[in-house]
Subunit: 178 residues, 3 copies
Amino acid sequence: MADVTLVLGGARSGKSRYAEGLVCARPGRRIYVATARVWDEEMAERVAQHRRDRACAGWETVEEPLDLTGALRRHAAADAGVLVDCLTLWLTNLMMEESGPHADVEARVAGLVAALDDLPGRIVLVSNEVGLGIVPDNALARRFRDQAGRLHQAIAARVPRVVLTVAGLPLAVKGELP
Amino acid sequence: MADVTLVLGGARSGKSRYAEGLVCARPGRRIYVATARVWDEEMAERVAQHRRDRACAGWETVEEPLDLTGALRRHAAADAGVLVDCLTLWLTNLMMEESGPHADVEARVAGLVAALDDLPGRIVLVSNEVGLGIVPDNALARRFRDQAGRLHQAIAARVPRVVLTVAGLPLAVKGELP
Amino acid sequence: MADVTLVLGGARSGKSRYAEGLVCARPGRRIYVATARVWDEEMAERVAQHRRDRACAGWETVEEPLDLTGALRRHAAADAGVLVDCLTLWLTNLMMEESGPHADVEARVAGLVAALDDLPGRIVLVSNEVGLGIVPDNALARRFRDQAGRLHQAIAARVPRVVLTVAGLPLAVKGELP
């Protein structure tokens, strides 16, 4: 089983910082796979804030909004820690594709899940837990919530460690806290 | 104390599947109490998907949108595992009643909670945790959220096991994981 | 380190009652710092319900919607348990200030966090976890969610105990359950 940790958490729950700490704690290269597509100022500010807040220095940044599995295959290495921040933005990007290979969300998700089994090095996947509020009014939000939940379940079943961050602190959901 | 497990979880958190597994793991009859009222296509698809996804075969299905306590009294038996999926849909159905005995939500909830103490066999109750998002804009959603929270607290105080599912994995909130 | 417990929980998750129990369990004075501003009937009813539901008697009530740090400095004492209910309403009140010293939310939050280090007696802080649903449509709700998350992280990093209540039951996030 590959060395993969899924870090779930709510908004501003400290999930990115905790995930960065997992990579920072080890020697070797640090690769940051950013899935965000910056489409407005609020988003740009969030991305900039994230960069300023990183838990340690020395990251190589890879921007990949759609082909996350390809990016992981290209960059994961025995001597590297790879942080993906975050799966929910990647899913959002896929859901906004109207055609082309990335528009088949289920296939892309299945591809990622299958790829996780044999990636080298340490992989940390950050994702937003979005399913614990009232059912959203609009159908797209409900579909997104369903897709995110299914993605989290599929990954959690395959990887050795799952953590839920609450107020910046980790709760172990699967495996031991590192 | 009766053998009752409350399985809470967010949308697509794997709560139904986990709950089914608790019933599947034991010999004896398996009874599925479905509280869903199918009022549109999206709902019909969700119900059909749930049936296709069941963790094991051999279920007797009972549909009961309103008189859940009566259904439990009729079907719970020493040689049976009864799964209720789910309490939040039952609560929704009660809240949509405008008159009649089921329109008194508090009385119905109190009746269910009291009945749990002496039901025979194994009972597994599935319910959506909906209280961890932003306060909803509309008053009905806030009232639903309050009712669901109160229901969960009342049940959790009376039963031996409470589990929160996250990404398909169980977190023990009360009692040991089975 | 001061004796501070942060009790996080969703709507109707039993967080206030659990927090009250922490104060009730000890001898000494009991001080209830209410941050609510009662601006409509729904709110008045919630406050009245909260009072009727308190886990024990004998509370001194202090109403302080804005200067929470000042209230804590004035009322915390070696022989007292102080319950703050709740931080999210306090944050809401700050965010609604258009000018004056309390309109600088970040400074007020930093002031509270710094003050926690040397308050005497036992302090219990209740707050709503609001970050585990779908991203809210409106920008103010998103900003509130971010502020609440940052506040929780800052406090959680400084205090010895953090608890998440689920269905009225405590999950230990940091430290041992009392």
